[in-house]
C-alpha cells in the first residue's frame, strides 16, 4: 500500500455533521415556504379493481381545500418511475392517478389544501366506488390466472435467461438443490418520503427532492407535464436516509403535477404507513438452485431459476432481475452457469430499487445453498468456498469483463483466521434450550454501470481567491458520506486539507449532469471523475504559477497550498495568490471541467462471519458476534468504510431474522408502522468487527472500490447459515421468525423420533 497519501485513508465525519448534531440542518421534510399548500393522497384500500366513480364534492366543500385531483382531471399519460434519461428502455406503466388500481396503496386521488390537517380531513370525505377484481397476491397466482390482467400486456412482466460455459459431464457428481425465498422489505429510511414543488406562473417549476437522482426527476417530470427541461429546476434537499427507497421517483411526479396545476408551492410528506404501503419495497424473490459438484467440492455447474415479485407496477424490477442473473459468476468460478429469471406483476406493494440491487437476494440463495452442499459433502464451508471462489483478474463469463483485483479469497482466509472459524465451528452447538452456531457467507457486487450503459460523470472545479476550492457536482448525499469522499479525493490531488474544499449536491440548473447517487458508482466512477477534475485543475494552477514565477513548469512542485521552485524554495507563490492574480492579470484561468468515462467494472467483495444463539423455547435468535471483511480496494474515508459495514450488517440481520411486509388474503399488509415492523435496535446488535482488505489494483480513485452495497450482500446468508448450524436445520425461507424456527425444530424432532 502506498503510504505517501496525506488525506486518503484517514477518518472523517460526514460533511454536514455540525448541522446535524445541532439540529439546524433543514431536511426535505422540514422545508416550508410562505403560502405553501399541503397535499394528501387517497390510496386504494383494495388490492385490485377499477375506480367506478370519484365524488370529491364534500371534500372540495371543506373550507381550506383548493382542489381534488384524480384520474378524472389529470393526464392519463404513463411514465416510468425509474427512468434515468430520455429514451431509456424501461417499463412505462404508471399514471399519476389510477383508474385501474393494482395494489393496496395505489394512488387514487389527491387533495390540495392550506394545511396538513385540512388536507387529511378532506381525503376522508372523498367517496370512491370501486369495482373489485380478483387480487393476485403471489407470482404463482398471477402466472396461472391469465384471465385476470394486472397490466394489459400480461402478468409476466419480463423474463430472461443467461448461460455461460458448456454443460459438463456430471456423472459421479454430487447434486444438491435448494429453494430460498427472500422477503418483501421496507427500506425504513428514518425520514419519510417528501417532495416540495413550486409551480411558477411562467409555467416552469422548482422542485426540492430527497431523491438519489435529480436529473432523472427532472426529465420524468418535464416529459410528463410537457415542460422544457431548462424550466424545471430540481434541487436535492438534505435527506434522512434512502437505502434505495428514494432512488425512484414516487412522490415527485405527483407533487410536481399538483404544483403545476395550482401554480403554488405544494408539499407532499408521507407518514410512515404511506411509506410502507405506497412507496416501494425490496422485491420478494424465490430462487431454486441446483448444483453439481465433484466429490472434492469443485463446482461443475449451477442452474438457477428465480421468480421476482414486482408488485403492482414494474418500477426497475426488470433491470433488478437482470442484475440478479449477473451476480454468481462474479463470486464463483463456474464451468457452466444457467440462470432463468421471471419478473411477475402481482397485486402487492410495488417493488424496486434496494441496497444491493439484486445481490442480497441472489447471493443469499447461493450462500444458503452452498452451506447445504458443504453439509452433504462433509466439507468445511470455508474450504468449499476457497475451492471455488474467483481469483484476481478472472474474466466474468457472463459479462465478459475482468473482475479486476478481486480479493474475495483473501477476505475469506483472513476472516476465517480472525474469527477463529475452525475452532468455533468445531465447538458443540449444544442440545439444551439455547444452541449456538456459526455461519459464513461471501458476497459480490459491482462498481457502477459500465457494461450496461455509457457510465460517466461530469464535474467542474474552481479555486477561490483565498485558496479554497468548490467542486460543482451533482451529488446526492444519502448520509453515507458521498460529499466527504469527493472532498478527500480532491484534497489528496491538490495537496490541501479537505476542509478547504466544498462539494455541491445536485441542482439541475447549476450542477453538471450525473445519473445519480446509486449503483455503487459513487466512489469508483464519480470519485474517479473528482480525481480527474482535480488533476486537471492542478495542472492549470501549475501553469499559472509557471508564468508568475517565470520558471518552467517541470521545475515546480506544489505542496500544502503553495507552489515552489524545486531546489529554491524561497521562490514560491501561494495558491490563493495564483487565484487572485489569475483574475487580475489574466494569467491562465484556474478552472477545470471534466467528463470521466468509466472503462471497467470490477467486483467488490465482502465475506462475513456470524455467531448466533437460538432460544429453542421461543424461537428467538440473537446474533452474538459478527465479523465483516471487505475487499474495498482502498478505504478513502476509513471510519466511514467501517461504518458502512456496521450499518449494512444491521440491515442484513433484520433481513435474515425479522423484517417482512407480508400481505393478507385481501392483499393488505398488517404492517402499518414501525410498531409492527421489527428492526434491529441497539441492545439487539452484536459488536461488529470490520476488517478491510486493500490492494488498489483497479481504476477507482487511489484504487478505491464500492462499499455501501456490497457490505450487506452476504449478511443475511451468514446469519441464516449460523442458525442452521446451531439447529441442524436447512431453513431457507426468510426471515427466520420464531414461528418458522419452532416449526423447523418440531419437524426435526418428528423426523428423529
Amino acid at each position: 500500500m502506498s503510504d505517501d497519501l496525506r488525506y486518503v485513508g484517514k477518518s472523517y465525519p460526514v460533511h454536514d455533521v455540525a448541522q446535524k448534531v445541532t439540529g439546524e440542518l433543514i431536511y426535505g421534510s422540514d422545508l416550508n415556504f410562505p403560502g405553501m399548500l399541503y397535499a394528501k393522497l387517497l390510496l386504494s384500500p383494495i388490492a385490485h379493481g377499477m375506480v367506478r366513480s370519484v365524488d370529491s364534492s364534500r371534500a372540495e366543500a371543506l373550507p381550506g381545500v383548493l382542489k381534488v385531483f384524480s384520474h378524472l382531471n389529470s393526464p392519463a399519460d404513463t411514465y416510468c418511475r425509474a427512468r434515468l434519461y430520455p429514451g431509456q428502455e424501461c417499463a412505462i406503466d404508471e399514471t399519476l392517478f389510477s383508474e385501474h388500481v393494482r395494489f393496496v396503496g395505489d394512488r387514487v386521488a389527491a387533495v390540495v389544501a392550506i394545511s396538513q390537517a385540512i388536507a387529511e380531513a378532506a381525503v376522508a370525505l372523498i367517496e370512491v366506488d370501486y369495482e373489485e377484481l380478483p387480487a393476485l397476491l403471489t407470482t404463482k397466482q398471477a402466472l396461472e390466472r391469465s384471465d385476470v390482467l394486472i397490466h394489459a400486456d400480461g402478468n409476466l412482466l419480463f423474463e430472461m435467461q443467461i448461460e455461460s460455459g458448456e454443460r459438463p459431464d456430471i456423472s459421479g457428481a454430487v447434486l444438491v438443490s435448494s429453494t430460498t425465498a427472500t422477503p418483501r422489505v421496507h427500506h425504513a429510511a428514518l425520514e419519510p418520503h417528501v417532495c416540495v414543488a413550486q409551480g411558477h406562473s411562467t409555467g416552469g417549476m422548482t422542485v426540492w427532492t430527497t431523491s438519489q437522482g435529480a436529473y432523472g426527476v427532472r426529465t420524468v417530470i418535464a416529459d410528463l407535464l410537457g415542460l422544457e427541461y431548462h424550466k424545471v429546476r430540481v434541487i436535492k434537499a438534505p435527506m434522512g436516509g434512502s437505502f434505495g427507497g428514494k432512488t425512484e421517483f414516487i412522490v415527485e411526479p405527483v407533487t410536481a403535477f399538483l404544483a403545476h396545476e395550482t401554480r403554488r408551492t405544494v408539499k407532499l410528506l408521507f407518514d410512515r404507513e404511506e411509506c410502507i404501503r405506497a412507496t416501494m419495497v425490496r422485491p420478494a424473490t424465490e430462487t431454486t438452485i441446483r448444483t453439481a459438484c465433484a466429490p472434492d467440492g469443485q463446482l461443475l455447474e449451477l442452474e438457477a431459476t428465480t421468480t421476482l415479485d414486482s408488485g403492482g407496477y414494474a418500477s426497475s424490477t426488470p433491470d433488478y432481475a437482470d442484475h440478479m442473473c449477473k451476480k454468481v459468476t462474479k463470486l464463483y468460478r463456474l464451468p457452466h452457469y444457467d440462470h432463468r429469471c421471471q419478473v411477475v406483476y402481482t397485486n402487492t406493494p410495488v417493488a424496486g430499487a434496494a441496497r444491493g440491487w439484486g445481490a442480497p437476494e441472489m447471493i443469499t440463495a447461493v450462500e444458503i445453498h452452498l452451506a447445504k452442499v458443504a453439509k452433504r459433502l462433509r466439507i468445511d464451508p470455508v474450504e468449499l468456498r476457497l475451492k471455488n471462489l474467483v481469483q484476481p483478474f478472472d474474466i466474468d463469463p457472463v459479462t465478459d469483463m475482468s473482475l479486476g483485483d478481486a480479493r474475495v479469497a483473501e477476505c475469506l482466509e483472513r476472516g476465517a483466521a480472525a474469527f477463529d472459524w475452525t475452532a468455533r465451528r468445531a465447538r458443540a452447538t449444544g442440545k439444551g434450550r439455547y444452541r449456538r452456531g456459526v455461519g459464513v457467507a461471501c458476497g459480490a457486487h459491482k462498481n457502477g454501470q459500465f457494461g450496461s450503459f455509457a457510465e460517466a460523470s461530469n464535474m467542474a472545479l474552481k479555486m477561490n481567491e483565498d485558496g479554497t476550492f468548490e467542486l460543482s457536482a451533482s451529488l446526492h448525499e444519502p448520509g453515507c458520506g458521498v460529499v466527504t469522499v469527493m472532498k478527500i479525493i480532491v484534497a489528496e490531488v491538490l495537496g490541501v486539507h479537505p476542509d478547504l474544499i466544498a462539494a455541491s449536491e445536485a441542482d439541475t440548473s447549476a450542477t453538471p449532469f450525473d445519473y445519480g447517487t446509486f449503483g455503487s458508482r459513487m466512489t469508483y466512477v464519480v470519485g474517479a471523475c473528482a480525481q480527474a477534475t482535480a488533476t486537471e485543475l492542478k495542472a492549470s494552477i501549475l501553469a499559472a504559477a509557471a508564468e508568475i514565477l517565470e520558471t518552467p513548469l517541470e521545475e515546480l512542485v506544489a505542496r500544502e497550498g503553495v507552489v515552489y521552485v524545486a531546489g529554491d524554495e524561497r521562490r514560491s507563490v501561494a495558491f490563493r495568490d495564483i487565484a487572485r492574480l489569475s483574475h487580475m492579470k489574466h494569467v491562465p484561468a484556474i478552472q477545470a471541467a471534466t467528463t470521466y468515462y468509466a472503462t471497467s467494472n470490477p467486483g467488490s467483495y465482502s465475506v462475513q462471519f456470524a455467531e448466533v444463539e437460538v432460544d429453542c423455547a421461543t424461537g428467538l435468535t440473537a446474533v452474538t458476534d459478527f465479523l465483516a471483511v471487505g475487499d474495498v480496494g482502498r478505504a478513502i474515508n476509513r471510519g466511514m468504510v467501517k461504518a458502512q459495514f456496521q450499518g449494512a450488517v444491521q440491515m442484513g440481520i433484520g433481513y435474515a431474522l425479522y423484517e417482512h411486509v407480508d400481505v393478507d388474503e385481501a392483499g393488505r399488509s398488517g404492517v402499518d408502522g414501525f410498531k409492527n415492523y421489527h428492526m434491529v435496535n441497539a441492545p439487539d446488535m452484536p459488536d461488529i468487527d470490520v476488517l478491510i482488505v486493500e490492494h488498489e489494483g483497479d481504476d477507482g480513485p487511489f484504487g478505491a472500490k464500492s462499499v455501501g452495497e456490497v457490505a450487506m450482500v452476504p449478511t443475511a446468508a451468514a446469519v441464516v447459515n449460523a442458525v442452521n448450524n446451531a439447529l441442524g436445520t436447512e431453513l431457507s425461507d426468510l426471515p427466520l421468525i420464531p414461528d418458522r424456527i419452532i416449526a423447523a425444530l418440531a419437524a426435526n424432532e418428528g423426523g428423529e423420533a
Binding site: P13, A188, E191, H497, D499, L627, A643, A648, V649, D687
Partner: protein, 197 residues
C-alpha cells in the same frame, strides 16, 4: 388555548388546540425543526426531547402535558454556541450518517447521562433501545455516548500517525479529522481478533 411552555430555557406563550402534539408545537410554531418525526407512534425515537430530565417521544405527548415543565430539544444542547461534549463526541466518533435519528439519539443519551453519568455499554444500549438508526449499526453511537461520559476506552485512542496528523493540522479554522473509531476494539471486549490492517 393559550399555552405557556418553557423550551430550552426560554418561555413561550403560544396558542394551540388542546389536542396539539408537543412535536407539532415545537416544529411548526416554535420553528425548532431539529426534532424529527419518523413514525408518529413513539417507535423510532427521532422526536425524542427531554421533559423535566426524562427522555420522551414528543410525537405521542400532548403539548399541554409539558405545561410548567422544562423542555430541552436538540437546539438547546449547544445553547452557548459551542457544541456540548455529547455532540462533540458524536462528531468525533463518526456517529452521524444521515443524521435524521441524531437529535433523538442525542436527547436520549443526554437524559441517560443526566441520570447516570458513568453508564456501562449495556446501560447505553438500553437507554437507546427506543431510538432507531438505519445507518450506523449503533456501534459508533454507543462509543460516542461512552466517550461523552468521560470513560476513555481503547476505541478512543488516537493512533500515532493520527497524532502527527492532528499536529500538522493545527491551522486555525481547520477541524481535525475524527479519530479512527475502530483502531481497536472496546476495552471491555476480549482481544480475540487480530487487527484489521
Amino acid at each position: 388555548m393559550e399555552l405557556l411552555l418553557k423550551v430550552n430555557g426560554t418561555a413561550w406563550e403560544i396558542s394551540a388546540r388542546p389536542t396539539a402534539r408537543l412535536i407539532d408545537v415545537l416544529r411548526n410554531q416554535m420553528g425548532l425543526t431539529g426534532t424529527k418525526e419518523g413514525c408518529g407512534e413513539g417507535e423510532c425515537g427521532a422526536c425524542t426531547v427531554i421533559v423535566d430530565g426524562k427522555a420522551v417521544n414528543s410525537c405521542v405527548m400532548l403539548a399541554v402535558q409539558a405545561l410548567g415543565k422544562e423542555v430541552l430539544t436538540v437546539e438547546g444542547l449547544a445553547a452557548s454556541g459551542e457544541l456540548d461534549t455529547l455532540q462533540q463526541k458524536f462528531v468525533e466518533q463518526g456517529a452521524v450518517q444521515c443524521g435524521f435519528c441524531t437529535p433523538g439519539m442525542l436527547m436520549s443519551a443526554k437524559a441517560l447521562l443526566m441520570a447516570n453519568p458513568l453508564p456501562s455499554d449495556q446501560d447505553i444500549r438500553k437507554a437507546l433501545a427506543g431510538n432507531l438508526c438505519r445507518c450506523t449499526g449503533y456501534k459508533t453511537i454507543v462509543a460516542a455516548v461512552r466517550a461523552a461520559s468521560g470513560q476513555e476506552t481503547a476505541a478512543m485512542e488516537v493512533p500515532a500517525e493520527k497524532e502527527e496528523l492532528l499536529a500538522d493540522l493545527s491551522v486555525p479554522g481547520l477541524a481535525a479529522p475524527a479519530p479512527d473509531v475502530d483502531a481497536a476494539g472496546p476495552a471491555s471486549a476480549p482481544p480475540r481478533r487480530e487487527g484489521g490492517e
